[in-house]
């Protein structure tokens, strides 16, 4: 086995989730029919709980265009897309030397993130609440698709 290129491109969580969905992870409730291994289903389960599950290609493209003015490093942009911070405190751990580089503009950046990228799925607090949210999300997706 030879490694031709160790890094042939970084993937956001959304792209991996999209790839797994295109292999049939979402539509198969029994998890036996789809041509995927159990370990791939585990990755799908993890990604569906993160902010990536509601994102679309268009929202990510829009975010990339708009964040050019803030001069962020590639790793920081990737972190923001994957985590989708909703407050300044969360952005602080992602961007190095946040106050020096951004100062007042942190609030602008947070607002832009909240506007452009869709919010993550609701956090499960009581168990009944979690079941209801899970049922709502796939139905909403099917309605949009049709």
């Amino acid at each position: 086995m030879k490694i031709r290129k160790a890094n042939a491109g970084t993937l956001t969580n959304f792209e991996v989730l999209d790839f797994l969905r295109s292999r049939g992870a979402a539509t198969d409730p029994t998890r036996v029919i789809a041509p995927m291994a159990q370990s791939e289903f585990k990755v799908y389960d993890y990604l569906v709980q993160t902010a990536a599950c509601n994102q679309t290609k268009e929202s990510i493209d829009e975010f990339l265009k708009k964040c050019k003015q803030y001069d962020l490093a590639k790793a920081e942009i990737l972190n923001i897309i994957n985590i989708r911070p909703a407050s300044a405190v969360e952005i602080d751990s992602i961007i190095e030397e946040c106050e020096k580089r951004m100062g007042e503009r942190v609030e602008e950046l947070v607002e832009m993130v909240v506007q452009v990228l869709p919010p993550p799925p609701n956090e499960p607090k009581p168990e009944e609440g979690m079941d209801e949210d899970k049922e709502e999300n796939p139905i909403a997706e099917q309605m949009e698709a049709s």
């Binding site: 031709r4 160790a6 491109g9 993937l11 791939e40 790793a75 405190v89």
Partner: protein, 193 residues
């Protein structure tokens, strides 16, 4: 967290797969070989993304199977240093925490990378486990398994395979991620929301 890796491999396709279309047979063999395995310095292989080229098809003398040189891309899981990841608590003991992502369990947060100052207290519910508390401005915040924990990747290690291991130690982990909670915005999400 994830990235693509271009790999070239000389693959022997066993004869019982001769009835399948070539792409499917090769995909099946690649998945058996690489899926859910750790490649040193590259990470954990999650999935085969695509097959770029298939060359060869030679049959070596005395062998019943054909051998192909395949170039393909794998989706690898390898967090980079400084990445922020959300994970669930698996265990906590006096050395620190152990977090899990579902598909990957070997994430450790050692005691010296916990938010400063913290202390561990024996957990009233579980006898073997210890609960970590963070003291901030006079209040104590516990780290319990209720919600997800955000951590920053401090280091990714690929320890070499040991020749012998003492009986009671943990099963060998080919890839170990060390995380840190010592920063604003890290730790259980409920602390910051």
């Amino acid at each position: 967290m994830f990235f693509l890796s271009l790999i070239e491999h000389t693959l022997r396709v066993p004869p019982h797969l001769l009835s399948l279309p070539l792409n499917k047979a090769i995909m099946g063999e690649l998945e058996k070989l690489f899926l859910d395995k750790v490649i040193a310095n590259l990470g954990l292989c999650i999935s085969v993304y695509d097959i770029r080229s298939i060359d060869g098809g030679f049959i070596f003398p005395g062998d019943g199977a054909s051998t192909y040189t395949v170039k393909f891309r794998l989706i690898m899981f390898r967090p980079f240093v400084g990445e922020i990841i959300t994970a669930k608590l698996k265990e906590s003991d006096t050395n620190g925490l152990r977090l899990t992502l579902g598909f990957f369990d070997d994430i450790y947060v050692p005691a010296h990378l916990m938010p400063n100052p913290s202390q561990s207290e024996p957990d009233p519910e579980n006898k073997n486990q210890v609960r970590w508390m963070w003291e901030f401005q006079g209040e104590k915040y516990p780290i319990d398994g209720i919600d997800e924990i955000r951590f920053r990747v401090h280091n990714v290690n690929y320890p070499s395979i040991p020749i012998e291991q003492p009986k009671e130690s943990r099963p060998f982990a080919p890839m170990v991620v060390t995380g840190s909670l010592d920063y604003d915005g890290l730790g259980p999400i409920s602390w910051w929301v």
